[in-house]
């Protein structure tokens, strides 16, 4: 037995050797980025349920990618970017062929099918619907205006992205980060700009985790002390029948208005109907717990798998991170400005701080409104009032995504 030859073979075939190969440094850098994301998720608790999965998917794919740049010929690779590039190439025989993915793909390729087909974001939306009480929105429907206004960042970031070198479809995917709604951002990006999925998902979830840091300075800058101290009256009680009718009315109306919103709005409202109708407790429980948890694992790891070194380490990723911050900031501004307008129209009955919750990110943004409100008036409880614009923002961002999908999806 040639011991020296065997050892040499083991060394040259190992992932360590590939660090020195062409482009190997990119994988090494991605492993460092994955570890930083893991630190942020675990230690700093930045959206840990998704960020830990995304970071670990990123870690796995960059290690497995080490073996060969042409991973299609490598059965050890967990994710094969070239298969997905072929899937999107109309001139390739494997164009839109899930069969090719199943035949040649690795574990993360197969899990990624659920992202590509738009299944996971919709199932997550079902869970969100099953967990959401739309009562505050039904009791005060004017919250919808704040939810609409808080989509300002989506369209401003879209405009900005389109002027700094991104295509229309890519700009739309970047803009939707401002909707502060992870599943919606992933859904739209997989449809319009799958090549940016990793960067957009990481930016969206990181900024959602940073909402308690991003929003308060903007809230303080745009409101007066007197406005922040406003105590809102309790909204009317909402009957069970109204809560049951709400998801049905919203589905019929919004899907008729914009059919491209059907997957997101349909699943969100189905989950909510499970919750409210009172006869499907088991389904509601499954949607908000077991199903949600399983899908979160699949979604996180497979989105992380798209963060391959040579694709992720691009100037565009930095631009996306910057534009994401712009989108979040302006969405907060939009919600607050309409909050101020409503405060003025109602002669001080509405605290404008609840407007910032219109950026979705349920319930984090509503909690921020509550915290800022209480800082200025210890007896002020804005949480339930802020939940109205907060859940309105979810519907608003789904409509924004539906519009962008309609314009750029065809």
């Amino acid at each position: 037995m040639d011991i020296i030859g065997t050892l040499k073979g083991l060394l040259t075939d190992s992932g360590f050797a590939s660090l020195m190969a062409d482009g190997g440094w990119q994988n090494l850098l991605m492993i460092v980025i994955a570890c930083v994301l893991l630190y942020l998720g675990i230690k700093k608790k930045f959206e840990p349920l998704l960020l830990v999965g995304i970071a670990f998917g990123c870690l796995l794919v960059n290690i497995s990618w080490f073996y060969s740049k042409l991973s299609a010929g490598n059965p050890d690779a967990l994710f094969h970017q070239d298969l997905w590039d072929a899937f999107l190439d109309p001139n390739d025989p494997a164009y839109h062929s899930y069969g090719a993915i199943l035949a040649h793909g690795g574990l993360l390729d197969i899990l990624y099918i659920g992202v590509k087909a738009g299944i996971y974001p919709c199932l997550i939306f079902m869970g969100v619907g099953a967990m959401t009480d739309f009562g505050p929105l039904i009791a005060r429907p004017s919250s919808l205006i704040m939810g609409a206004a808080a989509q300002l960042g989506v369209f401003l970031a879209f405009f900005g992205a389109s002027q700094i070198g991104f295509t229309g479809a890519q700009s739309a995917s970047i803009g939707i980060i401002g909707g502060a709604d992870g599943p919606t951002a992933i859904f739209l990006t997989t449809k319009l700009a799958p090549e940016l999925l990793g960067a957009i998902a990481v930016a969206a979830y990181s900024y959602m985790a940073l909402i308690p840091l991003i929003q308060p300075p903007i809230m303080k800058a745009l409101t007066t002390k007197k406005e922040r101290e406003i105590v809102m009256k309790q909204a009317r009680e909402v009957s069970k029948t109204e809560k049951i009718l709400f998801p049905i009315i919203v589905t019929i109306f919004v899907v008729l208005l914009l059919p491209s919103t059907a997957p997101l709005i349909g699943c969100l409202m189905l989950g909510n109907l499970f919750r409210e109708c009172g006869v499907t407790e088991r389904l509601s429980d499954t949607a908000q717990n077991s199903l949600m948890n399983i899908v979160t694992i699949f979604l996180g790891t497979s989105v992380g798998a798209t963060m391959i070194g040579f694709r992720f380490l691009a100037v565009d990723t930095l631009k996306i991170v910057g534009l994401g911050l712009v989108a979040f900031g302006f969405s907060t501004v939009g919600g607050l400005l309409v909050g101020k307008l409503m405060c003025w129209l109602t002669k001080g009955k509405i605290n404008p701080l609840i407007g910032s919750a219109g950026v979705s990110a349920v319930p984090m943004a509503a909690r921020v409104s509550q915290d800022v409100g209480r800082k200025f008036n210890k007896n002020n409880y804005l949480l339930m009032h802020a939940m109205g614009p907060n859940v309105a923002g979810v519907i608003g961002s789904a409509i924004a995504a539906g519009f962008l999908l309609k314009v750029f999806g065809g």
């Binding site: 429907p141 300002l152 401003l156 002027q163 295509t167 109204e242 100037v315």
Partner: protein, 114 residues
């Protein structure tokens, strides 16, 4: 560092601005129409609730008068949505817990808590 732009359809300033404005307007229109729908349905429910409250208020004493009495208690115990058998069981349990004979206890009413 490299760029990952794959699609070739770039937008001019005017096109992008118009698309952005139109999108924002669509979101506003959609949610404003939904607001109108919710205001209408909310109004209907509020009116119904008001009507129901107006009907219930004067009729409140009626159920007390109509409540049937438990058997074997000289017609003293009023039962609200409680069958005779369950009422007898409850009275027996209370008597047992208090260690008192049933005929020394006086039950006013038994009501099911929903």
């Amino acid at each position: 560092m490299n760029h990952v732009i794959l699609d070739a359809s770039f937008l001019r300033v005017g096109e992008a601005g118009l698309t952005g404005l139109l999108g924002y307007a669509v979101v506003f229109t959609g949610l404003c129409l939904l607001l109108a729908l919710l205001l209408i349905s909310g109004g209907i429910f509020k009116a119904k609730a008001k009507k129901a409250a107006a009907v219930v208020t004067p009729a409140e004493p009626t159920p007390a008068a109509e409540a049937k009495t438990a058997p074997g208690t000289a017609g003293e115990v009023k039962l609200y949505d409680v069958p005779d058998k369950e009422a007898a069981m409850i009275m027996a349990i209370v008597a047992d817990k208090l260690q008192k004979p049933l005929n020394e206890l006086r039950f006013i009413s038994i009501k099911e808590v929903k």
